[in-house]
């Protein structure tokens, strides 16, 4: 074979592989969406339709209003939002401390944080249940915020510490010479520049808390306090499941996460090895 022909064949082969990869990665997502816009009879017919013959969006208002997803969405927003606020506020101070000061035992503390992220959640779920019960925080969203901080705080601290390390020390030295206090320099000089790092840390925390299922499923039994993942799980019936409704709820649950992802894809990828955000 001549060289150009061989090159063309190789490129074609690569595109075939790329298409296979795209089909594997994309199909379940596509199927979730297609299911959510089909009328029920099309789902249960043999053979089922691939593209809907009739596009129906009725499942969305149904799950949002009658399925009370508007309430669960709000609960998820509260839990994820406050977890993020709490974790990022503490992590900004700590990340800055770890990056700029020689703290006695600092290395050990950082490693404990890294270690914490690898804990099996179930190991903590059992004592959490006992402690939340004692504190009267079972069936409360604040209890969930507290336990979600476990994984959010170390993640945010590591992300921010790594980000602060990349920033030149001259920045705040100039501010200190001008008579700023350390905290003043952090607030007025460092933070505005470190915004991409803070954003990335915040989004890591938000995504983790938004997706959290085990704690919410275990510590919340009142239906009105459910978060979205628990509510989705609740749509699985013992004998039959309304898959159109469940998939519409799934799209609603995915949208906010997909939106923030698109917004900050670059930062997320660069800050990855700092912590295990694998879920």
């Amino acid at each position: 074979m001549t060289v150009p022909v061989r090159k063309a064949l190789a490129a074609a082969g690569k595109y075939v592989l790329l298409l296979l990869m795209a089909a594997f990665c994309g199909f379940p997502f596509l199927w979730m969406f297609l299911t959510s816009v089909k009328p029920a009879p099309e789902l249960y017919r043999t053979p089922p339709t691939f593209l809907p013959e009739q596009w129906v969006a009725a499942a969305y208002p149904e799950v949002w209003v009658n399925g009370r997803f508007v309430l669960y969405f709000w609960n998820s927003l509260l839990v994820a939002g406050f977890t993020t606020l709490l974790a990022v506020a503490l992590a900004t101070l700590a990340g800055y401390g770890f990056a700029r000061f020689r703290i006695p035992g600092g290395r050990a503390m950082l490693l404990v944080m890294l270690f914490t992220q690898m804990f099996p959640a179930v190991l903590l779920a059992i004592p959490y249940y006992v402690l939340l019960r004692q504190l009267g925080l079972l069936n409360s969203l604040s209890g969930l915020v507290l336990v979600n901080t476990t994984f959010a705080l170390p993640l945010a601290t590591w992300t921010l510490r790594n980000y602060f390390l990349t920033m030149p020390k001259e920045l705040e030295e100039a501010a200190l010479v001008d008579g700023c206090t350390r905290l003043g320099a952090l607030w007025r000089v460092i933070l505005p520049v470190a915004r991409p790092g803070v954003m990335a840390a915040a989004i890591f925390c938000f995504i983790n808390a938004w997706n959290e299922f085990m704690f919410a499923n275990t510590f919340i039994s009142r239906a009105a306090l459910r978060t979205l993942p628990v509510a989705l799980h609740g749509l699985i019936g013992q004998y039959s499941t309304d898959w159109t409704l469940l998939m519409a709820g799934s799209v609603i649950t995915t949208l906010p996460i997909a939106a923030v992802f698109l917004l900050v894809q670059r930062h997320l990828v660069s800050g990855l090895s700092a912590g295990s955000v694998k879920g």
């Binding site: 053979p47 190991l123 507290l146």
Partner: protein, 298 residues
Amino acid sequence: MVTGRRNLQEHGLMGLALVLPAMLVLVAVVLYPLARGIYMSFHNVTFLNLAQGNHLFVGFQNYLAVFAKPAFWTAVKNSAVWTVANLVFQMALGLGFALLLNQPLRGRGMFRSIALIPWIVPSVVAVLTWRWMYDSGNGILNHWLMRLGVLDAPVNWLGSVNTVLWSIIAESVWKGTPFVMVLLLAGLQSIQSELYEAAQVDGARNWHILGLIILPLLKRHLAIAAILTVVYTLNNFNAIWLMTQGGPLHASEILVTYAYKTAFQDFNLGQASAIAVIIFIFLSLVATLYISVVERGE
């Protein structure tokens, strides 16, 4: 600057003050509960006597009781299969995807975004979507396999002890592979392209370039991806719980679901803590490995 010693002391104190709030929260929400968990694993704690507060010290009895249960050993075996299979498939596919997406091809950006979809989808959503695809009556998978002539009759993927674990492994490989891909792609992009070109000019085969140049340079990235995959897979409660809760007949039971069940369905918090501590010890070994890799890089 001011004289050394005093400056250093001030630094130390200021730094300590900055990290203190975070460390206090960490002690309260992680270290103290962890200690409570280990304590419970040596005491007779159940939902019934939970309120009493004064629990009988039972030594290693919780551990021995757990070891005596066949279901525990099933969960150990399944955890091993589950972890190794996820590791092998996620690393192989992740490396393949990363190599493919590192090629200078048109439309690469779009394919890269598509490959990230499984990572972005919340895990509960991912599991429930796959559960729908696996549905024995109306699932798309059975329908397609029958149409292609692979199957004569629909298979109850999640209801049969022979297929259930591997069916969930497929979902979890789908969900976890993009993360491996992202880590390895970042590594590949840091390898200078002159290296490949020099090798190509020298007439090296593609396989040789991969084995002799790329993989050795990617060693650290591969190690981090592999360790995080093991940790995440062992801890992956959602995939199993939302598909089958470990059933049928413990066929998809792994240690974390078994510990959870022992705590919140059998209400034996002492024994559940014992299982959790066993998982913790194993994960500590893996985490130590991870920390040594991270330390070496800094």
